[in-house]
Symmetry: C2
Subunit: 474 residues, 2 copies
């Protein structure tokens, strides 16, 4: 295993010479840097934080730390949910949030070049003002694009537009040795050697530090329409999904939600008018929230008619067309606040972010729900019906520490084992960090883990970059 | 550098025990196995050919060859254009064309599982009969899907649907050590450790042998329409492309062709009615061939009207709508036979398959054409205007061997250097093989090549699999 040194006054001086006034140590370190957005995975104090402003600066910091065997943890906005950007071995957090410039658009090649610290929301807004869409749309809009690329972030629109991976054309990377390289190019296809670009995407800051990105954009669709579709129960709700996907109507987003979580979110937001509860005497047990985009309302109305036909055939008990900005906003606001609503409703929670074949969503959730009785814990879930990525939360409620840890671990073990059994994978979009390493190992097996570890060593012989994450356990 | 052993009678016996009646040596080796479809890159005799029928068999062959330090060259239909599937170090060609079963469709997850030796055309036809489309559409329809994945094959529809990479969900792989692994899963998104799946795609059989593939399908669009659009010259023709792409009309295919190559192809096919030569006294110097797909002819007529408006504004001198099957077939048959037409028109040729930012296509081609005078060679080109992938051919015509080699090399050196200068990459879709290694090195530089070599060693410590290809030169 790797041996690391503690940060010395001498090294701190070197870092300060590289990044004047942007090196923080001791009490000057902002408390936010010691955790991400899943506090259950622990708090870890870095020895220093460097708020970098350029590729060259990051290369210099990396060289000094590599020579002195000091861990470096790249970090964006710290919105991760798997403990990927925390200093579990101490060392230097290298924060990229000051590198927040949208450098340039290329309207002929439909691309944008950005620094890694640009926030998703800022790029989305800016691109929209130019008639363009940056399709990846994770729930967390204040993540950095560097972070999004590092976890191959997915989001609501993945069903139509794919994930972050599909929008990365090129990147500048500082390697753990301090060398600066460029992977990919602003071209639309390539077969030019091993795709190091794709290897970097989703590697959670363990292979190199992304310091610039060239991202693909698409012309923005002019109109979007959403359908709110209640079903009697989850089985009917999920059962309708393959039919919608096979129809060729090409929904932009396709989310499912059980009534409990909808009610929780309505209470949290204090908005109770969006999702109908009882229709002609039948109580809604689950909902689909579907969006379609297109170039005219005529086109969308036609699509929405065809979709309604299919959905009614599949057992929908009603269909509400959210065609006003207000109704659309409220429906998606409810969806957007599920995690916060669950958090507000319990004392502590742990999360599972598996992805399963969409044909198995319903039976998998039935299994997950059965664990509530098995372990006497409350479990809530929602997810992307269009792509099989589920977000499942085990709630602590009033459990004592020991009992909570035991029950939560047992439920998680079961959930990951079952996902594995039905062809699912550990993480759909949040990544492995240090929190999901055990499940990654079980899921991919020893041969694949060994390949990953050896690839890590190719990039990072001293195991200096983001130690103890993804494939390398401490 | 690696040391290999010659195949002994003892090892041949072991192979015959693994694959009875499907091991060929000496004069029993079919002549086709000594080259791919670019004879200029040389002929190389393997010491044996094994026509495998299962994953397990391939694993056994691989183990025996790895233990005995005998090179193994995975090969599909041998339609490559970069010398990727030839035995430059001797050894065993492991042919997968007998593994040609379409194993099963999964209509809920919209995917198909196939053996690697299934031909692209066979999957395309079979999927179509089920109302589904496998979007990747390289010109060569008789390549195997294993080969397509190994080069991340692109094709005509890449502009709308992306490349082969975007359609691979999972694969079974035999590693050079003989271990069998599964990369990916039948899910629509993942952030589960390093993407070994994406590393395999485009690795040209140097990291492992693909023995099964799960591929994504999409609902087949019901209608397709093509436009034949003559322009006065290439600059105007290429200049119109970004406008079409920015329009949001989302063409399925967008090809450019200069008049010389169109005439060549018309002569080759003996069909002279498709591409108009003179319109209202103006001679056409170049053409766009554009396709749109959709669910009804009404929709497509609307799209084609909007496209026509843009194209006329950009200087199109006419627009022919190919809306009959006959006309569509003839237009695309002309496009599909460009390579054969060029081959038929000269004695020998060499190919360059660069991809450049689409904004640079016109100026790059102007540069390429200027090399005809500089070196006194004839150069012909065509390509994917929608994605910047160009196919450029230097023709030998009547040049003597030495002069031909010298001039061709000089022209190629210039072309790759210029592509590199403007942000292009060595190969858009044909790969590196052993023929383009020098240009790969120049394009990506020493640090990246070293990373690729070290990744190769992670998978293949004895450098036994497809030696001397992609990053490892002999």
């Amino acid at each position: 295993m790797a041996q690391y040194n503690k940060l010395t006054a001498d090294v701190v001086e070197k870092l300060k010479a590289i990044a004047p006034n942007r090196v923080f140590v001791g009490e000057d370190i902002n408390e936010d840097y010691i955790h991400d957005e899943m506090p259950i995975y622990g708090k870890f104090s870095p020895e220093a934080v460097v708020e970098a402003v350029s590729t060259e600066e990051i290369a210099e910091v990396m060289k000094v730390c590599n020579e002195n065997l000091i861990p470096v943890i790249p970090r964006g906005a710290g919105t991760g949910l798997a403990g990927g950007a925390v200093a579990i071995e101490g060392g230097v957090i290298l924060c990229t949030t000051r590198m927040n410039k949208i450098i340039s658009y290329d309207m002929e090649n439909l691309s944008v070049t950005v620094q890694p610290g640009v926030l998703l929301q800022n790029l989305a807004d800016d691109a929209a003002s130019k008639g363009l869409l940056y399709p990846p749309d994770p729930g967390e809009k204040f993540a950095t694009l560097g972070g999004n690329v590092s976890t191959n972030a997915g989001g609501m629109r993945a069903v139509k537009y794919g994930c972050t991976r599909d929008y990365v054309r090129a990147m500048t990377v500082v390697l753990p040795t301090g060398e600066i390289v460029n992977f990919g190019s602003n071209v639309k296809k390539t077969s030019t050697g091993y795709s190091l670009l794709n290897l970097m995407i989703g590697s959670e800051g363990t292979l190199g530090i992304i310091t610039e990105l060239t991202l693909k954009l698409v012309p923005a669709p002019k109109e979007v329409i959403s359908l709110i579709v209640p079903f009697e129960d989850l089985n009917a709700c999920i059962g309708a999904v393959p039919k919608v996907l096979l129809s060729g109507l090409n929904p932009q987003a396709l989310e499912f939600m059980e009534k409990d979580i909808v009610r929780m979110s309505e209470n949290y937001l204090d908005k109770k008018e969006v999702f109908p509860r009882v229709i002609d005497g039948v109580e809604a047990g689950a909902y689909l929230l579907i969006s379609f985009d297109g170039d005219s309302m005529d086109e969308l109305e036609e699509i929405s008619e065809k979709a309604s036909e299919i959905l009614f055939e599949e057992g929908a008990i009603d269909i509400l067309v959210a065609d006003t900005p207000e109704l659309k906003k409220n429906a998606w606001a409810a969806r957007g606040s599920f995690l916060e609503a669950i958090q507000a409703d319990t004392t502590e929670l742990d999360e599972c972010d598996v992805v399963v074949p969409i044909s198995n969503i319903a039976s998998y959730l039935e299994y997950v729900n059965s664990l509530q009785d098995k372990y006497g814990v409350r479990i809530r879930s929602f997810g992307h019906a269009g792509d099989g990525n589920l977000h499942i939360y085990v709630c602590r409620d009033e459990l004592g520490q020991e009992e909570w840890e035991e029950k939560c671990k047992a439920a998680m073990d079961d959930m990951y084992a079952e996902a594995d059994r039905i062809g699912g994978l550990v993480s759909g979009e949040h990544g492995i960090g240090h929190a999901k390493q055990e499940y990654l190992e079980k899921c991919v097996g020893p041969v694949e883990i060994e390949i990953m570890k050896n690839i890590k060593k190719v990039f990072d012989p001293n195991l200096i970059l983001n130690p103890g994450k993804v494939c390398y356990k401490l």
